[in-house]
């Protein structure tokens, strides 16, 4: 009554919306890199948007379901298939017992999600299922998934549906609302004004690319070296997901889900929440451009995404009701 990890993939973990309320103890929030993809995968199978999901990169894991399940894939498209049949993303599917799912090629994006109706039967650590690898806590045994790991499911889909074979549900969602192309929008950070005029112009016009040393902690960027007009030491303060820090060598790092809670590097900007899914789906060598925005605009875009998610949740409920009546 579970998912068995046949092959673990590059970096597969259990994540939810992140661990809230413990950053004052240095316990970072973790959580899904692409929150919107995670929420959407949950909505499609009528889970609460904050239910824990499986997050994975490419090469992605090979998974075997020992029981029937109602699942959805979201975020990156890694060409999922079972027995030669393609499994669509952003569309819920019913899978019978002993289905093996594998991902054959990278079509779009960097980080994928798999939701299961009813969620995984795991215990929370500090009110969250997100994996904190550093603390070896949360998620599945506090670690990235390994071959042979068996994650129990809370819910057996065979009771709920008459289907015995693989089938796609007759509704799907569009994820367009959550992604766009360049430039990424940021709110100027407290040290933005301390950049030289030339560096400010460069930050808003130059091409940056994502370096190989990027991970869930942060995306390291390669671009023109930026300079501060005064070299004043900064006292450590809290940082957050999306914070663009200027490293001593003039290069930037954008903090992501596994960021430390505090930092002492200049904060030249903060990528707005609405643009973090777009950044999370960018990979090594992808190019990035930046532009500034206002807090009002950032909030407006965020609320727009919330409303889209809300509409989607309602639509999925109606679709499922209609499907059962059919």
């Amino acid at each position: 009554m579970s998912i068995v990890i046949i092959k673990p993939g590059l970096f597969s973990t259990i994540q939810d919306e992140g661990r809230k309320g413990f950053q004052h103890l240095g316990i970072n929030p973790n959580g899904a890199m692409d929150i919107r993809a995670m929420q959407m995968a949950n909505t499609l199978v009528l889970n609460d948007v904050s239910e824990a999901v499986l997050e994975f990169y490419f090469p992605a894991p090979v998974l075997q379901f020992t029981q029937p399940a109602f699942i959805a894939l979201g975020g990156a498209d890694f060409s999922a298939e079972t027995n030669g049949t393609d499994i669509p993303i952003n569309q819920p599917v019913f899978i019978p017992a002993n289905t093996i799912i594998q991902f054959t090629s990278k079509k779009w994006g960097q980080v994928g999600y798999l939701s299961v109706q009813g969620g995984f039967d795991l215990s929370e650590w500090l009110n969250s299922y997100s994996t904190n690898v550093k603390a070896a806590a949360g998620g599945f045994e506090g670690n990235i998934l390994k071959a042979g790991d068996t994650i129990d499911l809370r819910f057996n889909a065979s009771n709920k549906t008459t289907n015995k074979e693989y089938s796609t549900m007759p509704w799907k969602a569009s994820s367009k609302e959550f992604y766009h192309s360049n430039p990424l929008q940021f709110i100027p950070g407290n040290e933005f004004a301390k950049l030289t005029e030339t560096s400010q112009t460069l930050l808003l016009s130059a091409e940056f690319s994502i370096l190989r040393q990027s991970d869930r902690m942060g995306y390291r960027l390669n671009g023109p070296a930026l300079e501060l007009s005064e070299k004043k030491e900064i006292i450590s303060t809290a940082v957050t997901k999306g914070t663009i820090q200027l490293l001593p060598n003039g290069q930037c790092i954008v903090l992501m889900a596994d960021h430390q809670t505090t930092g002492g590097y200049p904060r030249i900007g903060h990528i707005i929440s609405a643009d973090l899914p777009t950044l999370a789906q960018k990979g090594i060598n992808d190019s990035i451009y930046f532009t500034t925005t206002t807090i009002e605009q950032a909030e407006k875009l965020f609320i727009g995404q919330e409303q889209h998610l809300h509409l989607l949740t309602n639509a999925c409920k109606l679709q499922l009701d209609a499907y059962h009546r059919h």
Binding site: K20, G21, F22, Q23, H24, L25, G26, I27, N28, P29, W125, L126, N132, K134, A135, A136, A137, G142, I187, G189, N190, I235, S236, T237, A238, V239, T240, K241, G242, T243, Q260, T261, T262, G263, R267, H270, I271, I272, S273, I295, E296, A298, E299, F302, I303, E306
Partner: protein, 239 residues
């Protein structure tokens, strides 16, 4: 509390930082702790995290939970106004924070940089230990690792900058010095602080409801234990 000197700025679109000063100062940090304790005891809608640091405090909020605030141009302005109101009501006269005594073993087998730090400061190892245990340190903030306390101020005569090349692994429990700061590593971790001893207690324990031994604002005193006592305590904890 007077808020006229506060610099309040957005830390992205779901957090804001209140900066009280741009210096490391015990009385400023006490003000930070008063704000921290007040906001913890008077929850504000949508606030998820309150993160005190040396001379600033950051409030993280969930934009989805705030909703429209008609009198304000943005959620940021609403939360900013709400927090200022709270801070104005704070009476920051009394000293806050727990006083905690922590056993530490300063044997050179655990204090990996103890001899070097003593030589650097032209003191004996015994003098360094005496000076480190004679001070009460304030936990200015917790960061870097789960439960890692940034404490100050170390006696100027035993200060030393971080190691030029950080260690790949600093053992958990190690007590370090970095300039005027002293800290304790909660986990085995890479690190550059000068290691002078080790505590037998678990600073961070995921099996506990409150996994961290120390909180921001605590005042910490170290007392020496022998190598034998160190291992006895550690065995008793892990048993």
């Amino acid at each position: 509390m007077n808020v006229s000197n506060l610099n309040i700025y957005p830390l992205g679109d779901q957090a804001l930082t209140l900066q009280l000063s741009d210096q490391i100062d015990a009385s400023v940090n006490q003000q930070v702790m008063h704000i921290f304790h007040h906001l913890q005891n008077h929850p504000i809608k949508a606030v998820t995290d309150i993160i005190p640091a040396y001379s600033s405090i950051t409030i993280v909020y969930d934009l989805a939970q705030i909703g429209l605030q008609h009198r304000f141009s943005s959620s940021f302005e609403w939360i900013k106004a709400t927090i200022i109101q709270h801070i104005e009501s704070i009476n920051a006269s009394k000293l806050i924070g727990r006083h905690i005594k922590i056993p530490a073993c300063y044997d050179v087998s655990l204090g990996l940089d103890l001899i070097e730090l003593a030589q650097h400061n032209q003191l004996s190892v015994e003098e360094v230990i005496h000076k480190h245990t004679s001070q009460t340190y304030q936990v200015y903030m917790i960061g870097f690792l789960p439960g890692f306390p940034y404490m100050a101020a170390v006696d100027p005569s035993i200060q030393m900058n971080r190691r030029a090349v950080p260690r790949q692994i600093v053992p958990k429990g190690s007590v370090g010095i970095a300039g005027a700061q002293t800290g304790i590593y909660p986990l085995d971790s890479p690190g550059g602080w000068q290691i002078i001893g080790q505590i037998p207690l678990n600073l961070f324990d995921i099996s506990k409801e409150n996994p961290c031994l120390l909180s921001p604002g605590d005042r910490v005193e170290f007392y020496t234990v022998s190598l034998e006592e160190f291992w006895e305590i550690r065995k008793a904890i892990t048993a």
